[in-house]
Structures are given as structure tokens and as C-alpha cells.
């Protein structure tokens, strides 16, 4: 696959002297969805802002489809749609007007049919004449997405697009993003939800302290790092883990009401059956059980600590 975005030796030091990005090299392929993960302050937003022209890189070069973001900024930027992390939005304008404004700003001819399509796909069509201040937070975020899509970008940046969006809508949004991908749009998103990255992305990049720790195909990555937890919510307080269960990797939480079992999804035998039998034999009653996959960030923190 050919790279549509090519980042070479990118570094960014903010005015105060803080280095937010350190020698980033990354190629993003045409038509893929890539998710950037990393803890707060890792540099995700700084990286996106550098590509979009909001932050001036201290060093390095970025090209979009061969166009340098500084020298050929018109061609480069015309291809990009950006949904920022912060809810930055006007208050008095109507939904329809802000979308038309965005389209005009990118030099595109008026196209009410396209605006209608975008608004409908974001379930905002019935709000098109409403003022932005009358919308809810989740709706405002969708308006921001609509603004980014108003000029039919070939590359879409989504900086935590689903923060503050309800479950139902999140699913709809994933659907929209998938449709965009099918129509050939390259999508770069950041998120703190692993299920989101897992569902959406083809590739995942992990950033920490301004460096890209790894970039890999999603499947490979999740397999490599997958660890799951089984939580047992107990009926009665347990003073300590019985000796009969000592060869399981169990943890009892402070109030003695929850047992946590960590296991590797990769393994043929996860040990769950044996554990549950053992628990029954030990006469421990539980009222509920759940399994939870550790978030990529948790995994990642471990990864960094190991380094």
C-alpha cells in the first residue's frame, strides 16, 4: 500500500521548552484506519496538530500525498478534515450555516445535497436550523464531525471523536467511519477506548512521552498483548485466598468482596473451568462474574514499565 501521509523525523518543542514529540517517523497508508493510543499528555494531539498546520513542527518534514505541508499547504490541507479533541464551536450560528462555512473555507462550491447527506448520516438533519447553543454535548461533537466532512476530505483526523457520546451513537459513529473508509477515506483517530480501536482500526500506533513505541497491525498487537481479567463478585467477605487456589493468579481486593483472575487469552487452556470448580469446592459463593480485557493503556503502562 502507498503512504498518503509520510512523517519524517518530526520533533516538536513547545515554547516553554517542553519536548512533546521526539523524532517521529510514521507512514500512514491510503485507505486505512489507524488508531493512535497513549496516555494523557503522550503527544497524540500535538502530532495531529502538526500534520494539520495548527502547530509548527520544530524539526522534520510531513508530506500529504506528496505535498509538503508548508510549501504546498493549499494542496495538502485541502485533503484534510479535522475533528479536534476540544468541543470548540460557535454558539449563535445554526448547524447548517457552520457546515456551509467550513465547506466554503476549503474552497468548495456550495452543495446542499452533500451537506444534507452528511447531516443525515450524523443524525443531525432535524437539527439543521437549530442554533448550536441549543444542542447537547454529544450533538455538538457530531456537528464538529460534520464540519470536517463538509468539504469531502480524503483524510479524516478524529481526535477522541467518541468522548462524551452515548453508546448507541458511538456505534452509529463507528458505522459512519466504516462507510467513510469504504468510500476510500483514510482515517486517523485517537482514543482511550480499546474496544473502539479494536473494532475500528486496521493498525494501531502507541505513543508515549512523545515517542512512537510501536505501530502494528491491530490483530497482531492485541494478540501479543492481550490479557483478560475475570472478576468474581462475592456474596460474603473473604478474609484471604484459600490455599487450594494458590496456584491460580488470583487477587483479592481490599474489601474482600471481589476476586480477580488474570489470564492470557492466547493460551489454549485459560484455566477458567478449573478455577471455577476450585472456587465451588472451597465453598465460596459469588453473585456475579464478569470478564474484562485490560485496556490498551493498561497493557501499555506495563509495557513501558518493563522497558
Amino acid at each position: 500500500m502507498s503512504a498518503i501521509i509520510s512523517i519524517k523525523n518530526l520533533s516538536k518543542t513547545y515554547e516553554g521548552g517542553f519536548q512533546a514529540l521526539k523524532d517521529i517517523n510514521l507512514d500512514i497508508n491510503k485507505g486505512e484506519i489507524i488508531a493512535l493510543l497513549g496516555p494523557n499528555g503522550a503527544g497524540k494531539t500535538t502530532l495531529i496538530s502538526s500534520i494539520c498546520g495548527i502547530v509548527t513542527p520544530t524539526e522534520g518534514s510531513i508530506t500529504i500525498d506528496g505535498f509538503d505541508i508548508e510549501k504546498d499547504y493549499r494542496e495538502a490541507r485541502a485533503m484534510i478534515g479535522l475533528v479536534p479533541q476540544e468541543l470548540t464551536i460557535e454558539t449563535f450560528e445554526t448547524v447548517n450555516n457552520v457546515l456551509e462555512f467550513s465547506r466554503g473555507l476549503f474552497g468548495k462550491k456550495k452543495d446542499p445535497a452533500h451537506i444534507e447527506k452528511v447531516l443525515k448520516s450524523l443524525s443531525l438533519w432535524d437539527k439543521k436550523d437549530d442554533r448550536l447553543m441549543t444542542l447537547s454535548g454529544g450533538m455538538k461533537r457530531r456537528v464538529l464531525i460534520g464540519k470536517a466532512l463538509a468539504h469531502e476530505p480524503e483524510i479524516l483526523f478524529l481526535d477522541e471523536p467518541t468522548a462524551g457520546v452515548d453508546v448507541e451513537l458511538r456505534k452509529e459513529m463507528w458505522e459512519t467511519i466504516r462507510e467513510l473508509k469504504e468510500s476510500g477515506v483514510t482515517v486517523i483517530l485517537t482514543t482511550h477506548y480499546i474496544d473502539e480501536a479494536e473494532k475500528m482500526a486496521d493498525r494501531i500506533g502507541v505513543i508515549n512521552q512523545g515517542q512512537i513505541i510501536l505501530v502494528d497491525e491491530k490483530k497482531a498487537l492485541i494478540q501479543k498483548m492481550g490479557e483478560k481479567n475475570l472478576m468474581l463478585h462475592l456474596c460474603e467477605k473473604l478474609a484471604e485466598i484459600p490455599a487450594s487456589l494458590s496456584n491460580y493468579n488470583l487477587q483479592l481486593n481490599d474489601d474482600g468482596m471481589q476476586l480477580r483472575y488474570s489470564y492470557d487469552v492466547q493460551q489454549e487452556d485459560t484455566g477458567i473451568t478449573g478455577l471455577l470448580e476450585g472456587i465451588e469446592a472451597a465453598n465460596i459463593n459469588y453473585r456475579d462474574l464478569e470478564t474484562k480485557q485490560s485496556s490498551l493503556e493498561e497493557i501499555f503502562v506495563k509495557l513501558v514499565q518493563k522497558q
Binding site: 493549499r74 449563535f92 450555516n97 466554503g104 476549503f106
Partner: protein
Amino acid sequence: MNYRAIEAIYKYEMARTWRTLAQSIVSPVLSTSLYFVVFGSAIGSRMSDIDGISYSAFLVPGLMMLSLLTQSVSNASFGIYFPRFIGTIFELLSAPVSTLEIVLGYVGAAASKSLIVGCIILLTASFFVDMQIMHPFLMLFFLLLTALTFSMLGFIIGIWADNFEKLQVVPLLIITPLTFLGGSFYSINMLPEFWQTVTLFNPVVYLISGFRWSFYEISDVDLWVSLGMTGLFLLICLVGIYWIFKTGYRLKN
């Protein structure tokens, strides 16, 4: 040139004006009427003519300039400060638009609005005073040049300001005094000689003087000096704006 972007910015900014149409028109009409009632009729009736012009008529160009300057500066500074304040500036920075296009959009809209206000004041004044404009085209030219220059100044202030106080300080502490002392309400020749010289350092003097000449062919300084100085301010503001975008001052990190 991304003409659609200029159009988009311009329209967007003008929409803000139309939304607040009532206050955009009512307040200049009201304040002008007050000036004419107080200075024109009440005090003006006891004032002798200046260079053969009645005091009320003498006031008209000065009052127009007063509004034009404050309106231009406040419209333009607010217009660009607001997106910075709420963060929507990201869109401008990430769009395929050049400095020139952004400035044309914002400054154009701010200047348009103050031109409209200027004309409203002229219309209001015509109900109070008997006057004629001897060089209407020159008058319009001055009006346009001033509106543009001070809208650019406003734009620079809007970029420089990092809080609302700063946004208001310049119009309040600099523009208004300079306009009052720049001969809006009197002829510079009425001042003692020393103060006349001091006044010549006030850029607004040249604007008002030239503008008044286009009405009545009377002026404190030579018409060409006025035109030259107005052009010079325009140039200075242009350089300032060029520098801001070249360096990304207060816009980019």
C-alpha cells in the same frame, strides 16, 4: 486565490452583524442624535462659525470619523479574538487559506459594517444639519481607506490581546482620546501654537482633516498630507499583519 474562503468568512462575519442589526443601527443613531442635540443645538448655537461653517455642520465629519474608528477597531478585533477565545481558530489554521484571504474576509467584513454605520450617521446628521458634501467621491474614498486601516488595526489588536480587558483597553485608552483630541469637535487652529505642534503627532488629525476637506473644503493640514498619512497608516498595518502571519504570532504554537 481561494475566493470561496474569503466569501465564507465575510458572510459569516456579516451574519453576526445582521443578527445584532437593531443594536448595530440604533446605538450609533442614538449617540449621534445626542451629540447633535447637546453640541450642535444647545452649545453650538452659542458658538461662532468655524471657517465660515456652522458648528453643527463642522461636527458632522468629526462625528462620523469618531464612530468609524471605534467601530472598525472593535468590530475587527472582536471578530478575530472570538474564534481564538473559543478555539474555533483551529479551522482557519487548518484550512487551505492564505493570510491575505483571512485578512480580506475579516477586515472586509469589519470595514463594511463600520461603513454602514458611517452612512447611517451621515443620514441621521442630515436631519439635524443643513450641509452639502463638495467632494462625495473623495469623502467615500477617505471613508473606505479609514475603515480598512482601522479594521486592520483592530485585527492586529484582536490577535495581540490575550484577554477581554486588553481587547477593550486600546479602543478606550488610545482610539477614543486620539479621536477627541484629533479635532473631531474643534479646529486645530483654535489651539495654542505649542499644542498645535503636539497634535500633529496624532495620526487621527490627518484623517479628520482630510475627511472634513471633502465636505467643506476646509482643513487643518494640507489634503495631500492627509492622504499620504492615511496611506502610510494603511501600510504600517499591512506590514504588521504580514508579520503576524509570517511568524504565527499568538496564532500557532
